[in-house]
């Protein structure tokens, strides 16, 4: 499976949302993307892509799009 599909599925499973709202999705943009949900998302991304995201990047990870930029720092190209 390509990274973009894995990335999308992680968001959809973590927040129980559909693919059509991902493009513009931001932190706290849906009910489940609160601080608790954020840690669930980060844990899933770290597990799936076998990376450890720095605290500054966890805090900066503010949207679906921004996340792609952040993951690129860890050599995960979405």
């Amino acid at each position: 499976m390509e990274n973009i599909q894995i990335y999308k599925e992680i968001f959809m499973e973590s927040f129980e949302i559909k693919e059509n709202i991902l493009a513009d999705l931001k932190y706290q943009g849906v009910e489940r993307w609160d601080s608790v949900g954020h840690m669930v998302l980060i844990a899933a991304l770290e597990e799936k892509f076998d990376i450890m995201i720095d605290m500054d990047d966890i805090i900066d990870f503010s949207s679906f799009e921004k996340g792609k930029t952040i993951l690129a720092k860890y050599k995960v190209i979405i």
Binding site: V36, M39, V40, A44, E46, M52, M55
Partner: protein, 250 residues
């Protein structure tokens, strides 16, 4: 066995309460990441014997709690193995006693760097890993000094008070992820640390041989309480601070 097939990271496991925890956890079937600041041949020899006796694995991990990069590298080395960390016991710490007006601010910062900030960094990395598994038990070793806060505790006592406060707030945050956080607050315990000059006052209070509890705690008595909190037997205990002090107040 209370901890069969679990894996624990114990900081400061090479001596004192930490070593007692290592022995107890091993006897309960737990595999252990045994942290110490530096490699030590004598300690490695002892853990080989403990590992063989209890048929569990003990792996050594070294980092200085004052060095963020060492902590990160150390924890990352564990995470890369993909082995779970079911239990984290933050046992490493340093002692200091002295009146505030005779203690430099740098000394207070040094004590906090190990007892509090180093513990924070380990916990932040390990708890993030535990969130993936949606379960875990974190036990922080504080001290009655962090509760009673008598004179002479501007560094050690306040650092342990910070550990207690942090543990309570963390228990509220991590409960959503199935992770419990609790504290054990021992009174003076019969270890090397107890025989330092800093512990002189407490030793004097506890030297009355007429009463059965007017004594130092035994390290295994502390280990019993920690083992309980690490196990499923305490599955609904979260955010608690348990004094293990024989009822003594300082």
């Amino acid at each position: 066995m209370m901890l069969k097939n679990k894996t624990a990271l114990i900081t400061g496991s090479n001596r004192g309460i930490g070593f007692s925890l290592l022995k107890r956890f091993a006897s309960e079937g737990c595999n252990i990441y045994a942290h110490s600041r530096k490699p030590n041949i004598e300690f490695e020899k002892k853990t080989k014997e403990i590992s063989a006796k209890n048929n569990i694995e003990i792996q050594h991990i070294h980092f200085d709690l004052r060095q963020s990069s060492e902590i990160r590298n150390g924890i990352m080395a564990i995470i890369k193995t993909k082995a779970p960390i079911d239990i984290l016991v933050n046992s490493a710490g340093i002692i200091h006693g002295g009146l505030f007006q005779m203690t430099t601010v740098q000394t207070i910062k040094d004590v906090f760097s190990v007892n509090f900030f180093g513990m924070l960094e380990v916990t932040q990395l390990v708890s993030k890993y535990m969130i993936r598994k949606k379960k875990g038990s974190i036990i922080n070793i504080a001290s009655v000094a962090g509760i009673d806060l008598s004179a002479g505790n501007c560094a050690y006592g306040t650092s342990k008070a910070a550990v207690i406060a942090f543990s309570k707030t963390l228990s509220s945050e991590l409960s959503a992820h199935g992770i419990r956080v609790n504290v054990i607050a021992p009174s003076l315990t019969d270890t090397e640390m107890a025989h330092t000059i800093e512990a002189k006052k407490e030793k004097t209070i506890l030297s009355d041989n007429k009463e059965p509890f007017k004594r130092m705690a035994r390290p295994e008595e502390i280990a019993n309480s920690v083992c309980f909190l690490a196990s499923e037997k305490s599955s609904f205990i979260n955010g608690e601070v348990i004094r293990v002090d024989g009822g003594n107040k300082f």
